[in-house]
C-alpha cells in the first residue's frame, strides 16, 4: 500500500521528504491527467493541508509572497497592485474555473511545461522561488528554477514553499495575452506577459516574457532594453522580429508552426504594449 501523507506543518512535510522520495501533490491537475489509475500512483505527499503554504500576501516592504499551495483562484481574489494584473489575467485562463479552484501557482512552475500559463507573468515579475528541505532553505530566481521541459532545479528532499515577487517588481502596469485555437480550456500557441513602468508617458522599465515559444518561457532582455526611454505610444513599433528570434526557439507542433509562433509572439507583444498605453496616447 503506497503512502499518502497530508501533513499540517511544513516541518512534517520536509521530514517526510527527507525520509523517502515522494510525489508532491497539491492541485493534482497535472498529476491525475498523467495517469489512468483510479488513485494517485506511488507515495504521495499532499501539501494542501499546511496552512503556512496557503495565501497570497503583501509583505511589509511591498514584496508579494505567493504560498507554495496557493491556488489560481487565490491569486484572482487577492488584493494586488496593477503589476499583477497580468498574473490575474493568466489565472483566469488557466484551464477552467474548476481547474483554477484547485491548481496551484507553484505547481504550474514545478510541472515546468513550456506552455505553463504562469511562467511568463512570474518571469516578468522577477519572481524568486523559495525552496526548502529538511536541511535548509534557498531561493533561486524563477529564470534559473526551470531548466527545461518538465525539469527544475529541485533536488531530492526539496519542495517549493513560496514564490516571492520583490517590491521593485510590483510596480507598473501589466498585461497578459494568450493565443489558442479556442476560447477556454486551451493550451496556448503563444503567450506574452508585459509589465511596464512609465513616467510621463515614457517607459522607464519594461519586463517582457514569452511562453510556448521555447523549451522554457523567456524574458526578452534586448527588447526590454530597446524600450527603455521610449514613449508608451511608440512602444509597439519597437517590437522587431530579430529581438524575438534571437531569444526564442519555437517548434512546429499540432497547434502551430514555428514561424507562425514567432510572428504571433511579436504581434501579441505589440498588442499588449498598445493596451498599456494610456487611452489618449494610444496609436490608432
Amino acid at each position: 500500500m503506497p503512502a499518502y501523507l497530508r501533513p499540517d506543518t511544513l516541518d512534517a512535510a520536509l521530514d517526510a521528504l527527507a525520509r523517502q522520495p515522494m510525489t508532491i501533490a497539491a492541485g493534482c491537475t497535472d498529476l491525475f491527467p498523467a495517469t489512468e489509475a483510479r488513485a494517485l500512483p506511488g507515495d504521495v505527499l499532499d501539501i494542501t493541508g499546511i496552512p503556512a503554504l496557503r495565501g497570497v500576501a503583501r509583505g511589509a516592504e511591498g514584496d508579494v509572497r505567493i504560498g507554495g499551495a496557493a491556488s489560481w483562484a487565490d491569486v484572482i481574489r487577492a488584493d494586488l497592485p496593477p503589476a499583477f494584473d497580468m498574473l490575474k489575467e493568466a489565472a483566469r485562463e488557466v484551464g477552467s474555473v474548476q481547474i483554477q479552484n484547485a491548481a496551484t501557482v507553484a505547481g504550474n512552475l514545478c510541472n515546468a511545461s513550456p506552455a505553463a500559463d504562469g511562467v511568463p507573468c512570474l518571469l516578468a515579475l522577477d519572481a524568486e522561488v523559495e525552496i526548502a528541505s529538511a536541511k535548509g532553505a534557498r531561493r533561486v530566481p524563477l529564470a534559473g528554477f526551470i531548466t527545461g521541459p518538465r525539469q527544475t532545479v529541485l533536488a531530492p528532499g526539496e519542495m517549493v514553499v513560496a514564490l516571492h515577487v520583490p517590491a521593485a517588481a510590483t510596480e507598473g502596469q501589466s498585461r497578459f495575452l494568450k493565443l489558442g485555437a479556442r476560447k477556454y480550456l486551451v493550451i496556448s500557441i503563444a503567450m506574452v506577459a508585459v509589465r511596464l513602468r512609465a513616467e510621463a508617458g515614457r517607459i522607464e522599465e519594461a519586463a517582457i516574457a514569452v511562453g510556448s515559444c521555447s523549451a522554457v518561457a523567456q524574458r526578452l532582455g534586448a527588447l526590454e532594453a530597446a524600450l527603455e526611454g521610449v514613449a508608451l505610444s511608440d512602444a509597439p513599433t519597437r517590437v522587431e522580429a530579430e529581438l524575438l528570434s534571437a531569444v526564442l526557439s519555437p517548434i512546429d507542433d499540432i497547434r502551430a508552426d514555428a514561424a507562425y509562433r514567432l510572428r504571433a509572439a511579436g504581434e501579441l507583444i505589440r498588442r499588449a504594449l498598445a493596451d498599456l498605453a494610456p487611452e489618449k496616447e494610444r496609436a490608432a
Binding site: 497530508r6 499540517d8 491525475f32 488513485a39 499532499d46 474548476q98 479552484n101 493550451i187
Partner: protein, 897 residues
Amino acid sequence: MNRPFDSLQLTVNGDALSLPVAPGRRLSEVLREGLGLRGTKVGCDAGDCGACTVLLDGAPVCACLTPAAQAEGRAVTTVEGLGMGALQQAFLRHGAAQCGICTPGMLMAATALLRERPKPSRAQVEEALGGVLCRCTGYAKIIDAVMDAGAGAEPVMPGAGAAVGARIERLDGLPKVDGRESYGADDCPEGALLVRAVRAPFAPARFTLGDVGAWQAAQAGEVHVFTAADIPGANCFGTIPPFADQPALAETRIRLKGEPVALVAGEAHVIEALDLAGFPVSWEMGDSQEPVHETREGNLLVRGLVRRGDVAAALGASAHVAEAEIETPYIEHAYIEPEAGVAWMEAGTLVIRACTQAPIMDRDDTARILGLPPEQVRIIPAAAGGGFGAKLDLSLQPFIGLVALKTGRPARMIYSRAESMATTTKRHPAKMRGRAGVDAEGRITGLEFDGDFNTGAYASWGPTVAGRVPVHASGPYHTPAYLAEARAIHSYEPISGAFRGFGVPQAAILQEALYDSLAEQAGMDGLAFRRLNALQDGQPTVCGQRLSGVGIAACLDALKAPWEAAHEAARKANAAGGRLRHGVGIASCWYGCGNTGLPNPSTIRVGITPEGALCLHQGATDIGQGANTVITQICADALGLPVGQFRLIGPDTALTPDCGKTSASRQTFVTGRAALAAGQALRAQILSLTNMGEDARITLEGATLHVTDGSGEARIALSDIAPDAHGYALAAEETYDPPTTPLDADGQGAPYAVYGFGAQMAEVVVDTALGTVKVTRITAAHDLGRVINPLLAEGQVEGGIAQGLGLALMEEYIPGRTENLHDYLIPTTGDMPEVKTIFVEVPDPEGPMGAKGLGEHVLIPTAPAILGAIRHATGARITKLPALPHRVLAAIAEAGR
C-alpha cells in the same frame, strides 16, 4: 502530524459521512463507486471536460482531479444534492439537456455561478461554464437556461391532436436534470467483474502470446483472461455484413494501434491494479507495405460512383471552370461519455446494457461472435451520452458479453478517454479534388468530384461513406453533367466509420468552395448563384431521381434578408480598415434520409392495457436527438390522445420491435412514419369498435375510452377486453420501409425516399495579423417539411453547427497524438456564435405529416459557410482543415501574392 485516513470524514449533500477510502483515490470514484452517487459523470479523468464537476465547500472543482483526502472535513455537493429546482426546470424548458451526460457538470458549474451572481450576463455564464464541454447542444440553450433560471414556468402539455408542432419539453428529460439518468457506466450489478482490454501499442504488427497462466498466477488476485481462442462464434464482425472484417479480439495481426488482443476480468480492485504493460505478449513490427486485408487489392475497400451526362464535354463548353483540392483530417466524435456497459446472464439469455445507437445490430453481431442465436441476446440500450455515429459500431459489447457468458458473472467495462479515442471510429479523412463549370449566365453545367477517404483498418461504414459521397457531392443544385467517385482506402490507422453526415460534410466543403469560385468568376453574388442553381421539384438529381417537396430554394430565399444585412454590416466594418476583416459565407446542404437504396424498416407498437395505460413501444434509440419525444408526438396526433398520456417503453430488444438504427437522419422520417401508421391503426380500431366517424374525439380516462362525435358518445371498457399476447386490450403494430431503388452501375436510381434541405450563412471576423477567426453569427435555414418539435429541432441545428464549427476551425485527430480532450479541441461555450434558426416547411409527400430528417443536415453547411466567409473577408482559401490560425495566416499571405 498526519491525519489518519482509515476513514474519511466529509459531508456529501448535507450528510456527514465517514468512509473507508484510499486517500489518493479520485473523488469522482469515491462518489460514484463508493457512495453510488453516479449523477457525477466521468468523461475524461483529466479535467478537460468538466462532466465530473462537483462543489467543494461551494466552489466548483473536477472530482476526477480531486484526491479524496482533500475532501476531508469539507462539504461536497453533487447533482443529487441539488434536487429539482428552478435551474433544472429551466434546463428542461429550454431544451438544454440533449443526451444529458454533461448536464450534471453544467448544473454544478451554473449553481456555483448563480449563488454568486443571481442575474449573470451572457459573458459571465459563458466563462463560468467554459470548463464543461458539451458535444450535443452548441451551448446556446444551456446558457439561455442559466440566464433564465429565475423565471419559474410550469410546462404546458398540448392537448389531443396538438402535439405535432408543439414546443414541448423532452418527455425523457427529468432524469437528465436530476442526476438519475443511467448511462453505460452507471449500472453496476452486485458481484460484477471488471473487464479491461490488453491493446496493441502500435500497428501494423504481429503478436505472440506468452505464458498467460504464469502471469495470471503472479497477480494479486484471481484474473480471468480471454483471447481470440475463447471466442465461441465467428471472430469477425462489421456493420455491413458483406464487408465484415474486424475481429473482436485480434488473432495474429494488428491493424491499428489499440486493437485488443486479450481481455482481463476479475474483482474491480484486482483488475484496476493490474499493470497491463506486463501482460505476456510480444509485439513484432509489421510491414506497412503489406495490404491491410489480403483480399482488398491496393487497400481499396470500395469505390462509389455516380455518373450522369458527359462531364468532360460540359466543362469544356463552360464559360467558367473552377478547380479545387481540399484535405480534411480525422475527426473524433468526442461524445462526453466514453463507451461503457454491463452484461449479465438472465435465465439463459445474455443481457447487455451498454451505450448504443443500434440495438438490433448489436444483438445480431454480438450473438454471431458469441455463437448464440440472436434470441439469446438481449440488448437494453443504456442512456447514450452522445453518439453521433460512432456508437453504431460494436465496441465493448462482445467483450462484456464474452466474460458474462464464460464466467456466468455480470461483467462491466468502461473505456478510458484515451481508449475511446484511439479505438473507436472517426470521421474519414478526405483528400478531394474537383472541377465545376457554369455557363455565361452562371448556371451549373457540370461537376467532377474525386475523393480518397481514409477508411482505416477495418470496413465499418466505409462502404456507406463511399456510396453516399458521390450521391450528395453535387449539393442540392441542378447539375446536368456529373461524375463523382469516392474511394474508401484502408490504412493501418483508426477505423473511419459513421459520423454525422457519412462523408457528405467533407464533400460539401469542396463543392461549396468550387461554387464560391464560380460565383466570383461569373461576377455573381454567392446567394444569387446558389438560388439560380437550386434544385427544383421535378428536376432530376445527379442520380436521375425526380423529387417533390424540394425546399432548398425556400431555404435560400429565407436567407436573403439576413444575407444582405450581413454584407452591408461587413462592408461598413471593413471600410474602417484595420487588421480585423469581416466576411460572410454561405453554403447549402441536402441529405437523403435512411439507407442508400437498401431496405431499413421501422416497426412501432402502441397499445392500451386493460388498466388504461397507453404504451408506446419506441425502439428508436434516443441518443439525445429527441426520438423519444418526437416519435411520441407523431403517434399521439395520429391516435388523437394527448402526448402527456403516453408511457414510453424501450428501446429494448426484448420489448420493442425493431426501429432500426439511429443514423442517417432516419428516425423522424422512418420510425415517424411507423408511429403515424400505428397511431392511425389504433385509432381506426377504436373508431370501428364504437362505430364513430373519422373526426370523433377520443379520450382515455382510467380504464375507459370515451369516443365522441356530433352524434353522441360511446365508451370502451378496456378491462372487458381480453388482453393480447403483449398484454394489451387494444393495440396496433405497424411497419414502414421507405420506397427506394438500388443504384445502377452509374449510380442512377432512387436511393432515398425523402431528402432534407438547408442553407446556412456564416459571419466571421478574421484577425489578419494573427490568423484567428471568430464566427460571430450563423443564420441557419432548414427545411424540415413539417417541424414536429421546434425546441428539439433548434437544439439539433445549434449542436450540428457547433460540430461544423469545430470541423472548420479546430478539430484534427492525429492518431497517437491527440487521444485526449486537451489536444483534441472541440468548441467551448466561448467559441460559439449566435445562432439564428429559421425553419422552412416544404412538406415531403412521403414524410410523416410532411416531415423530413434533420440531424445530419445541420452539420453539413456550417464548415463550408465559415470557410467561405474567411475567403470573403480576406481572400484566403483554406485547402487543409482545420483552419488553425497559422494556416489562415499562410492562406492570407498566399492570397495576397
